[in-house]
């Protein structure tokens, strides 16, 4: 029966009464929610099958299994295990050589050494950066109308580098939220604050600047709350939180920390100040080169001017007696040191002396060229929007209903009151700044961050966090499946000095992680989502990992790290249709087509079409969906990039052996990291025969298929044969196993 409005209001009143005053924040008598009590280090429990556990982590899992009357699964096969951990730690499948070496290594710590090798790989930082970029709503354009291109990618490269260097998570936090405020802040520490400026920028005509500015602050506040507090702060923008102990005052108190930059919200400049020049090595090299060239030519000019315009040493050439007859404008252009003159002045001087003194005119022209090249170079240097506080803090107010122009009472910069440990209070108010906030977030005084961060690490490996709602640790979020394990991981993370690689190594080398993902009917029935962890993780890979895997298997993947974003193949007209032709997508050529997905240009208003179930990069996202739609299958079957990968992969199999079974094996080893079974070979060989028979009748079709993608075809391959193998390789790349981690 449908509840009437009256029934519902009675219920509502009852709820209000039960909770005291209508918001959890105002209720001080309720027992504190588990997530808001700092974790204390639990003692790993005693278990019956103690021999199974490889460390404390496993004992927590095993205790739960034993209490449920379940036993863990056996360890996964070695090939499966290597592929699983290589995907998790580097986002790529193992190469056949890596698989061979691992399978041939009989030593008892072969697996641990493989994990260490992967943790040390530069691919590790690239893989770990993806989720951080999603949380940081990183993109290469502003979003909204106009969607101007920004150059935040040096910040993205910094993330990769910080992950690879294993910058401890506390420093990782402090630098990104407040690197500019660290004593003696380095360029790198300032660059890291680009995190805060990754929000969208609205340049729509008619927008009120202050409204934009407040929107940006909302975004910074809510991103911080999601990433470090697991809190749904967006609820408290307009009213005290209905379920969690956060007030509007808490919201605007947190916002106040960010409300002190010179950003005014006006316009849509995608490099709006404060910003930081981030020249690449190539920029620096060219600058040095131009500087040297400029000095030489300027010296030549100075020598000529010394001859043409004799004068006392400290006077400019324009004040020489011999300059008197020259037109006023030319005398002005001669005022400064040659090296300091602008391109316009140099141009006028050159025009004046052309035909009169050709050596002088030539030198002036050369210098003008250098000045112009230098200006163009400066313009091409990326500028990363960063944080920088103004001297006098702005006053921050509570905004009624979150409306930018409905200011209420003044609010001090402060940490959420219910999370503050009164025994060790952080600095708050006017004297406090973002650095105080950042330090508090990763201090033992904040009860939430260590659990939230450790949970995201777990989610990375197992597909689901110990707290499934990794974005919400509040009372409406899900309770942890293994509370003691979560506390142990959180305290271990802190105890290790926020050593992220240590945390990842703990998980990757655990017996829990090493279990086979095979599921019996009974177990599936009992625990369909594998929350009890009686088996290893198995799920479809993120779409970016599927793409990187295909490129790697084909041997197409370009290895270079970092740099400006790239544009791989994308169907024509997608940007044009979304922007009425204002933005044209032109795919890159050569190696840029085969860079890792991390480096693909992300236009906010219309994201890259080759990804699915990815965060939209508009707002902070720490958990993405895993869905299955026919559109995904169409993409993986038909996209130019995947068809080309299949073609190149087929070429490699053909080059490796003349024999069908061996070729199929090459496909399997490159894509799945294992050999094909006899049955699998038979199915694919049957397909090959069919494709071959058809294409032999239609050789022009084979030619068309092989023309897909830019990369060159190896010489000497029979076209019909190569096309038939391309279809077989395409089948392998689309296998459930190929697009799943298991």
């Amino acid at each position: 029966m449908r509840a009437t409005r009256f029934h519902r209001s009675v219920l509502h009143i009852a709820v209000l009464l039960a909770f005291g005053a209508g918001s959890a924040a105002a209720d001080n008598s309720a027992p504190t929610h588990w997530a808001y009590v700092a974790p204390s280090r639990p003692v790993p429990p005693t278990v019956q099958a103690a021999g199974w556990a490889r460390g404390p982590l496993d004992r927590f899992v095993l205790q739960r299994l034993e209490s449920e009357g379940l036993a863990p699964s056996p360890e996964a096969g070695r090939a499966t295990l290597l592929r699983r951990v290589t995907l998790d730690l580097t986002g790529l499948p193992p190469t056949p050589a890596e698989s061979d070496a691992f399978l041939a290594d009989p030593s008892p710590d072969a697996y641990e050494r493989a994990v260490d090798r992967l943790l040390a790989s530069p691919r590790y930082g690239e893989r770990m950066a993806w989720e951080w970029l999603e949380a940081a709503r990183y993109a290469d354009s502003n979003g909204y109308q106009g969607d101007g291109e920004r150059t935040m990618w040096p910040w993205r490269d910094w993330v990769v580098s910080a992950m690879n260097r294993n910058l401890p998570f506390d420093a990782f936090t402090e630098w990104q939220l407040a690197g500019d405020l660290l004593p003696g802040a380095t360029r790198e520490q300032k660059l890291a604050t680009g995190f805060c400026r990754n929000h969208m920028i609205n340049g729509e005509g008619g927008r009120i600047a202050e409204e934009n500015r407040i929107d940006y602050l909302f975004d910074q506040t809510e991103t911080t709350a999601t990433v470090w507090l697991g809190a749904t702060f967006n609820c408290t923008r307009c009213h005290d939180h209905k379920y969690d102990p956060f007030t509007m005052r808490d919201y605007y108190g947190l916002l106040a920390f960010f409300d002190r930059t010179a950003v005014d919200g006006g316009g849509g400049d995608p490099q709006s100040k404060p910003n930081l020049e981030a020249p690449t090595d190539e920029h620096e090299r060219q600058r040095a080169e131009l500087g040297a060239e400029s000095r030489t030519v300027a010296a030549t000019i100075a020598a000529i001017e010394g001859r043409l315009f004799p004068r006392p040493g400290d006077k400019p050439a324009g004040e020489s007696e011999s300059a008197k007859p020259l037109p006023e404008a030319i005398r002005r252009d001669l005022a400064g040191e040659p090296a300091r003159r602008g391109a316009d002045a140099l141009g006028r001087l050159e025009a004046h002396w052309r035909g009169k003194d050709d050596d002088y005119a030539r030198a002036l022209s050369r210098l003008k060229g250098i000045v112009e090249r230098r200006a163009a170079l400066d313009r091409s240097v990326p500028r990363v929007m960063v944080m920088e506080d103004v001297a006098k803090p702005r006053e921050t107010f509570r905004l009624l209903k979150g409306a930018y122009n409905r200011t209420s009472d003044r609010v001090d910069a402060s940490m959420p009151a219910r999370l503050v440990d009164t025994a060790r209070p952080p600095r708050q108010g006017d004297a406090a700044n973002r650095l105080d906030l950042a330090r508090w977030l990763v201090s033992p005084g904040n009860p939430v961050a260590s659990r939230v961060a450790a949970n995201r690490a777990w989610q990375l490996f197992f597909g689901t966090g110990l707290v499934k709602t990794s974005e919400d640790f509040g009372t409406k979020g899900e309770a942890p499946s293994h509370p003691a394990l979560l506390d142990w991981l959180a305290t271990e993370y802190q105890r290790s000095g926020w050593d992220t690689k240590h945390l990842h190594r703990l998980i990757a080398t655990s017996a829990t992680y090493r279990q086979s993902s095979r599921a019996t009917a009974g177990l599936l029935d009992r625990d369909p989502e594998n929350r009890l962890l009686a088996r290893g993780p198995r799920h479809r890979m993120p779409s970016w990992m599927i793409r990187d895997t295909a490129l790697q298997a084909a041997g197409l993947l370009a290895g270079s790290v970092g740099g400006p974003p790239v544009k791989p193949y994308q169907p024509g007209g997608v940007w044009e249709e979304a922007t009425f032709g204002a933005k044209r997508y032109e795919a890159d050529h050569g190696a840029a087509l085969y860079r890792r997905s991390l480096y693909v240009f992300w236009r906010r208003i219309v994201g890259p079409t080759m990804f699915f179930d990815a965060a939209n990069r508009q707002y902070c996202t720490v958990r993405t969906a895993r869905t299955d739609t026919p559109l995904q299958a169409l993409l993986l079957l038909n996209d130019t990039g995947y068809v080309e990968a299949a073609r190149v992969l087929a070429g490699r199999a053909m080059a490796a052996s003349p024999e069908t079974g061996a070729r199929i094996d090459v496909l399997y080893r490159r894509v799945l990291g294992r050999s094909a079974s006899a049955e699998e070979r038979a199915i694919l060989a049957g397909g090959l025969a069919r494709h071959r028979e058809r294409l032999a009748r239609q050789p022009e079709e084979a030619g068309r298929m092989l023309a897909v993608g830019e990369s060159a075809r190896p010489a000497g391959l029979d076209a019909v044969e190569h096309a038939a193998w391309t279809l077989v390789a395409g089948t392998v790349l689309n296998l459930d196993e190929a697009i799943s981690k298991e």
């Binding site: 008619g206 479809r540 997608v574 979304a578 026919p630 299958a633 068809v643 699998e680 030619g703």
Partner: protein, 484 residues
């Protein structure tokens, strides 16, 4: 051989989709095209075929006029505005009102009469501008809702509010909610389809953000699938060069057999979904060419919609496609046409907008009616807000007359599926500035559309971040007055 019938033959040859050897039933398939909308942990979604009460409409076509059409010049006739043309806007009409920064303060702005005369039409006597002659012809089929108002004063936030219930992008849109709540009746098409068009040579720059048909925090299978006005209506639909139907079929057969081996070995039920996913992709490849093949449409149809309907990417083509989509069971078609943002082109581009949209909008309603589909198809025409009754620009400069954004009143018309035809609902003041009777907030409009589809807006919820979200946020009143 006819490729389409060959395609169908290949489809029926297969047994995967039956309750056959592989045991992949329609249940697994259903999930892929949102036929079973229930999501884990979210029992609130009633699921396919389960409405909260008897629906009046089974599908919605939203003719979204992006950029905000001028209610003042098209449907909301005010003789007083004609009389006071050129006079400053009286303060009491605009006190405390906030306008776009392009207008800034509205004080002292001059009132601007509609640029074309209005006439009464049909038995209902509805006032319609001469700019909309075809719409005028079907006035008795329409319900004009003249009391619409919204909270947002800029395009993207206002469109987002109207379509998703929130000014901030990222919530599920109406079509996604309908797909989630009701599933799809289509065998091989998505439940929610979006299409876009723009008037040729328009100076406006409104962009179609994909969050306008996004699924927000709902599973992404509920998001609108963008059909493009080009050779490949759905991204990646076409097989690569050199791959024909038979070889693709063979490839998918091999793939299914190999995946089935894997399923037997590892026991993951997700693999059954995977097989179905690829099968459904094949079906979609089969059905879309049939959908976009207009060769069997009789000449009378093109006479009705106009010659543009043969031209992919035009509004008229999209209107015809909308009819073909709902005929095939698509739940929600969201058609978006940009170019209505006439800040300085009321005397120029407004005419082009009307020329490009009027005939096809009316044709769609008539076409649906002729086919007996109008009874259970709801058609909604309207933008994100209205335009100011006062001028943007200078009275002396007629070629550049314009009107600014106006969130305080605008007109939407609805037809079919359970709304009262021939009704003019609500009223603005004598200058079309503010609503004075039967005001309808955009949340109320959403409530009413859901109601017509058999859904209670307070019960169509999805739990996310610990909260049960609704399309209507915490608002929404049913507009009973427009129900048939």
């Amino acid at each position: 051989m006819d490729p389409l019938s060959e395609h169908r033959r290949l489809l029926t040859r297969r047994t995967f989709l039956g309750q056959g050897a592989m045991g992949i039933g329609s249940a697994a398939l259903a999930g892929l095209l949102s036929r079973d909308a229930r999501a884990a942990g979210n029992p609130a979604g009633p699921g396919w075929g389960h409405t909260h009460f008897a629906p009046r409409a089974k599908r919605v076509i939203y003719l979204f006029q992006n950029g905000a059409p001028t209610h003042v010049d098209l449907f909301d006739y005010k003789p007083e505005l004609v009389k006071r043309h050129g006079q400053p806007v009286p303060d009491e009409y605009i006190a405390g009102r906030r306008f776009s920064t392009m207008t800034g303060k509205a004080e002292g702005k001059k009132l601007l009469a509609p640029v074309e005369p209005f006439e009464r039409h049909g038995q209902s006597g509805a006032w319609v501008s001469r700019l909309m002659p075809h719409t005028a012809q079907i006035a008795d089929e329409l319900c004009f809702v003249k009391g619409l108002h919204t909270d947002a004063v800029n395009h993207a936030p206002a469109i987002s509010l109207l379509l998703s219930g929130s000014q901030i992008p990222g919530r599920p849109t109406l079509g996604a909610w309908l797909a989630y709540g009701l599933g799809s009746e289509a065998e091989s098409l998505p439940a929610f389809v979006a299409m876009t068009s723009v008037t040729r040579n328009t100076t406006c720059g409104q962009i179609f953000y994909d969050f306008y048909w996004g699924s927000g925090f709902l599973p992404s299978r509920f998001q609108g699938v963008k059909f493009r006005g080009s050779a490949e209506p759905v991204l990646y639909l076409d097989n690569p060069p050199g791959v024909d139907l038979a070889s693709r079929r063979g490839q998918l057969d091999d793939l299914a057999r190999l995946n089935e081996l894997k399923r037997a070995e590892c026991g993951d039920p997700e693999i059954a979904t995977r097989i179905a996913q690829y099968e459904m992709a094949f079906r979609m490849q089969a059905s879309v060419p049939d959908l976009t093949d207009l060769s069997r449409e009789p000449k009378s149809v093109f006479d009705l919609y106009g010659p543009d309907a043969r031209q992919p990417g035009t509004y008229a083509y999209n209107c015809l496609m909308a009819r073909r989509l709902v005929e095939r069971g698509v739940r929600c078609v969201q058609l978006m046409h940009a170019g209505w943002d006439q800040h300085r082109s009321i005397t120029t581009e407004l005419y082009n907008q009307c020329r490009d949209t009027d005939r096809a909008s009316a044709a769609l309603v008539l076409d649906l009616k002729q086919r007996g589909l109008l009874d259970d198809t709801l058609v909604v025409w309207g933008g994100e807000f209205g335009r100011t009754p006062f001028i943007q620009g200078s009275l002396e400069d007629r070629p550049n007359w314009g009107r600014d954004h106006h969130p305080y009143a605008f007109t939407v018309w609805m037809a079919g599926g359970g709304v009262r035809a021939g009704l003019s609902h609500g009223e603005t003041d004598d200058l079309a500035m503010n609503v004075v009777r039967d005001s309808v907030h955009v949340h109320d409009l959403q409530t009413t559309i859901l109601h017509l589809m058999g859904l209670d807006h307070e019960r169509l919820t999805y739990r996310f971040q610990g909260r049960d979200f609704r399309l209507t946020d915490i608002h929404g009143e049913l507009v009973k007055g427009i129900l048939a």
